[in-house]
Amino acid sequence: MTLSTDDLIRSLAADVPPVGASAALRRIGLGSALGALLTLIVLLLSIGLRADLGAATHGFAFWMKALYTGSLAAIAFGFTLTLSRPDAVRATRVVWLIALPVAALAVLSLLELSHTPHDQWLDLWRGRSAHVCPWLVLGLSVPIFVGLLWSFRRLAPTRLRAAGTAAGFAAGALSATVYGLHCPESTATFVLTWYTLGIALAALLGRLLGPRLLRW
């Protein structure tokens, strides 16, 4: 037995709290912050913080990593916000934006390699944790992605595959930033390869799951 439309409208109009101009952004922020908190807890309980965290924050490498993943996260969240609206228009400019931090890190990596003897290049590139880093970034991105799924419940993405990709990308970039609290690696070459791979995997997962999970 369905409600008459008049009754429906009356019941909807009983629930009209104010919605601020930046409500969508705050909603996305809240969902991803809650997810990131869970990610941090999981990190602390499992692999833990790096032992030299205090000292590391005085070094260049720590901030290089944070700035790289942080700028990717900022771009990704902008992308996510755009795609959370039902009338989102194609935004190819995003691809160009991503190129900026990647190019900057690539330059650092080239400088690094040029100052390192050839026989140490492989070590520079692989570090000690290449085999786990992308998977940890991917795994730690899951709570943040779930947080964004929650955010989307009050939003209206209509391009589901693109929105899923954006959310995955954002979750991966934020997760990689949190992961920096644990990760002992310090070369641009390592970060450019393995962090980026982890973030790309998160974006890919988002792309695959988007149409299923973002439906409303």
Binding site: T5, V19, P86, D87, L155, A156
Partner: protein, 179 residues
């Protein structure tokens, strides 16, 4: 008397600021517009159209924070309606085929539905200019293939091929995005 974009947008913004009466008036004004939007595009009973219209109304209410005040209101609302329409078709396993899409794009409407046309425009933006112009002329402006061909300096078969390719590309794009 159909409400205009300006009137609806004003009600929407008042509603966003917490004015429950304005929000109620907005939903009341949207109901007949949505009913017409769905009714014209689906071969369903009035009861089924009403159900889908109510779904769209609920979505417009629940997800109102997805509206950007700096942008037009009615294209936002019709984007939600169109999403609900395609999702409805997907659930009923209707193939988003070219014929179905033709009907959806070219359904005749009142000028109040020009806001729905704005939304179709954003769909058409995804196409190369040649296909876009061909579809706009034949489906939205109601020109014949011959008239379109003459106006664009193309052959008639060129127009037909452009329309066909454009619709196929759109149908594929929508399928990719929703399934």
């Amino acid at each position: 008397m159909r409400a205009s974009e300006d009137e609806l947008k004003a009600l929407m913004i008042k509603g966003l600021d917490g004015d429950a009466l304005a929000h109620q008036a907005l939903l009341g004004a949207l109901a007949p517009l949505l009913r017409a939007f769905f009714g014209r595009r689906l071969r369903q009973t009035p009861a089924e159209v009403e159900d889908l219209m109510q779904e769209a109304l609920i979505a417009i209410h629940t997800r109102r924070m997805s509206y950007d005040r700096g942008r037009p209101f009615t294209s936002w609302a019709y984007s939600i309606a169109r999403y609900k329409l395609f999702d409805h078709l997907r659930r009923r396993r209707v193939d988003l085929s070219i014929e179905g899409l033709e009907e959806l794009i070219g359904a005749p409407g009142f000028e109040a539905e020009s806001a729905a046309a704005i939304d179709v425009e954003s769909l058409l933006e995804l196409l190369p200019p040649k296909q876009r112009r061909a579809i706009r002329a034949t489906k939205l402006e109601g020109l014949s293939v011959a008239e379109t061909a003459r106006a664009a300096g193309m052959s008639e078969s060129d127009v037909k091929v452009s329309v066909h390719r454009g619709l196929r590309a759109l149908a594929q794009r929508l399928k990719d995005e929703l399934t």
